[in-house]
């Protein structure tokens, strides 16, 4: 009996030891996976405010989490200093001139820090070094930047339409510029935002050269005098409302149609925000972030499909039939 009890005790002991060993092994494996004991190095950066940061916030490099915020402190001189702990194995990839900036994982996702590789020709960043922090422009900021320009453009174009009544030349630079403006205003998208800004700049330049060129002639003098007074964009542009009234109804109709185009332009800008899904890499900030989020979700779904939980290999690619545009038929009776 005693031998039996001793046997049972020994077996129970082994069983408990084995269970504990397994648990320790699992904990070790998880710790290794989550880089708990991995070698890390420290970097610092100083943002203007610590409002968008928190301890443990992920730092990403090319989409991979390479570290986290370890500490945040307000220094004596009032500057914010944030300490990053980054994995040592990524150290050789980060060179001098590396920049850190805040990006959002999707439209409503968590904000993470992204670090760039810097100048590959330069040496690797040193531990304990302070790197430069840059604020990424978001769509809202871009729109805010563009809005005053468009408001100015409205003013400018109204003045220009009055000028058009004066010049009344179908081959003038002004007409050509407007037709380009109109073409842009038809459907404002990511490409056209750039074109719009270029066109506005061109209009300003052309208008300046036009007014300079006209200064020598009599009409030019009159124009130049009127152009000197008020415009915000060209400080020497005078409102020509009195002259406009003398031009008669024909020019007024033309002006009205031009103003309509300008209004269209302003409305089109508002649609930029709703066209997020079509924004291109040329526009930084929100567009890139949303695309990142989408690709991450896609990756996540694929991993989930292949995981043991669902037990299914990734399904076949989406059929081409779903991507064929349905016919647009004219069914009007």
């Amino acid at each position: 009996m005693g031998e039996f009890v001793a046997n049972v005790r020994r077996q129970v002991g082994w069983f408990v030891l084995l269970g504990m060993g397994t648990i320790v092994l699992i904990i070790l494996a998880v710790s290794l996976q989550s880089d708990l004991f991995a070698k890390k190095f420290t970097l610092y950066f100083s943002p203007p405010s610590a409002a968008f940061f928190y301890d443990g916030q992920a730092v990403k490099f090319q989409g991979f989490t390479v570290g986290r915020i370890n500490e945040m402190d307000l220094q004596e001189d009032g500057r914010v200093r944030i300490t990053l702990k980054l994995l040592e194995r990524y150290h050789p990839m980060l060179h001098q001139d590396a920049i850190i900036h805040l990006v959002r994982d999707g439209l409503i996702g968590e904000q993470t820090l992204e670090i760039t590789s810097g100048n590959a020709k330069k040496p690797v960043v040193e531990a304990e070094q302070t790197i430069h922090y840059e604020t990424a422009a978001t769509i809202e900021q871009l729109l805010q930047d563009i809005k005053p320009a468009v408001e100015n453009a409205n003013t400018l174009l109204r003045e220009l339409t009055e000028l058009a009544a004066w010049l009344n030349d179908p081959t003038s630079d002004f007409r050509q510029m407007l037709s380009r403006m109109n073409a842009v205003s038809q459907d404002l998208n990511r490409e056209n935002v750039g074109k719009l800004v270029i066109n506005l700049a061109e209009i300003l330049e052309n208008l300046q050269s036009m007014t300079k060129g006209l200064k020598d002639s009599r009409v030019g003098e009159q124009l130049a005098r009127s152009l000197q007074s008020t415009s915000e964009i060209l400080s020497d542009l005078r409102p020509l409302t009195q002259q406009l009234a003398k031009e008669g109804p024909e020019s007024l109709t033309r002006i009205n149609s031009l103003i309509n185009h300008v209004d269209l332009l302003s409305k089109s800008l508002d649609t930029v925000a709703s066209d997020l899904s079509e924004l291109t890499p040329e526009l930084p900030g929100l567009a890139r972030e949303s695309r990142q989020a989408i690709s991450e979700i896609q990756g996540m779904l694929k991993s989930l499909q292949g995981s043991w939980l669902l037990g299914n290999p990734p399904g076949p690619a989406q059929g081409k039939g779903n991507s064929v545009a349905p016919p647009v038929l004219d069914m009007q009776p």
Partner: protein, 328 residues
């Protein structure tokens, strides 16, 4: 006895070991599994295509064209021939919707060239029919084109043809006055089952096609019921233009009471007004005035007059712009 107890202990021990090893294996499998490599240009092209299709549903043609153009570039970068021909086809469809006939025809020709070289017979047939449809609409369908060249099974219940090809084939047959063939193909489409949005819209179009056919054959009751079916699908998927067409057709059918027709025409008119389709508005208004004859409301007349003025001005403007473009 001892032997039995020892065996049962070993059994438990083995069972525990098995459970632990199973858990470990599950954990291992569920850990960071490296995603399969994926061509970014292909996924980019697919994203652009989906964006384009979404824009198409809202009739944001310009936006859809931009997306499909970008999808084409991405698919060219990926060097995926089937995706390239698909992108050209989508671009052609959208250009056709934008009335860019020349652009659409060029794009369809590119699809035909590509699919001919790479033996994609289905896409080739799709492009061939779509091109014929646009050429017929513009009145320059080649004399060599014969509807009989198309596979007969397109118009029959058998054959696993995609619905969009059948629908286009049916519409082409209808426009070329092969009414029996058109009717057969439309019927096949209406019998399709599924809840895909595109399929439901195509079913609505097929019912509308049947309604138009019945109307042209003076089978007004059948035309009414088919238009009603088209409307029911339109309400599910949200196709305002097709809804307005169906309502306009019902408003034109003399079997319904005057008040019912008036109701349909007014509803069609309000949809066309919301869609800013002046030509269709004019048609609906004309029908309404005809219905109210001999005492049409002065407000309706005034509205028609305003529309005609606007259309006249729009035509003038279009002519001026085309002259200016030619000058440039």
């Amino acid at each position: 006895m001892k032997h039995l107890i020892r065996c049962s202990c070993y059994g438990r021990w083995l069972l525990t070991l098995l459970c632990v090893s199973m858990l470990c294996s599950c954990g291992g499998k569920s850990s960071h599994k490296a995603p399969e490599p994926e061509n970014p240009y292909i996924s980019q092209a697919n994203n652009f295509i989906q964006n384009g299709l979404a824009a198409m549903q809202n009739e944001r043609w310009q936006s859809a064209e931009n997306s499909f153009a970008r999808a084409l570039i991405s698919s060219q970068l990926a060097d995926d021939i089937s995706l390239v021909s698909l992108s050209w086809y989508n671009l052609a469809v959208i250009r056709s919707a934008l009335n860019n006939v020349q652009g659409a025809e060029e794009a369809y020709v590119r699809v035909l060239e590509l699919t001919d070289r790479h033996q994609d017979s289905l896409m080739q047939l799709r492009a061939q029919i779509a091109l014929a449809l646009i050429q017929e609409r513009e009145g320059h369908l080649p004399e060599t084109f014969d509807l009989q060249q198309l596979p007969a099974s397109l118009y029959q219940a058998g054959g696993h043809w995609p619905t969009d090809i059948r629908l286009q084939a049916a519409r082409l047959a209808q426009r070329l006055h092969y009414t029996t063939l058109a009717q057969q193909a439309y019927l096949v489409i209406t019998q399709k089952t599924g809840s895909d949005q595109n399929l439901l819209k195509m079913k609505a179009e097929a019912h509308m096609g049947l309604a138009l056919l019945s109307s042209s054959e003076s089978r007004y009751e059948h035309a009414w019921s088919e238009a009603e079916k088209a409307l029911s699908y339109c309400r599910v998927v949200g196709a305002p233009r097709l809804t307005a067409h169906a309502l306009l057709l019902q408003g034109q059918l003399s079997i319904a009471s005057k008040s019912e027709r008036k109701d349909r025409l007014e509803r069609a008119l309000s949809i066309y007004a919301a869609l800013e389709d002046s030509f269709a508005q004019k048609q609906a208004l004309t029908e309404l005035i005809k219905l109210n004859a001999p005492e049409p409301s002065p407000a309706l007349r005034l509205r028609l007059q305003q529309l005609e003025d606007k259309l006249g001005k729009e035509n003038e403007k279009a002519e001026t712009f085309s002259i200016m473009e030619e000058d440039h």
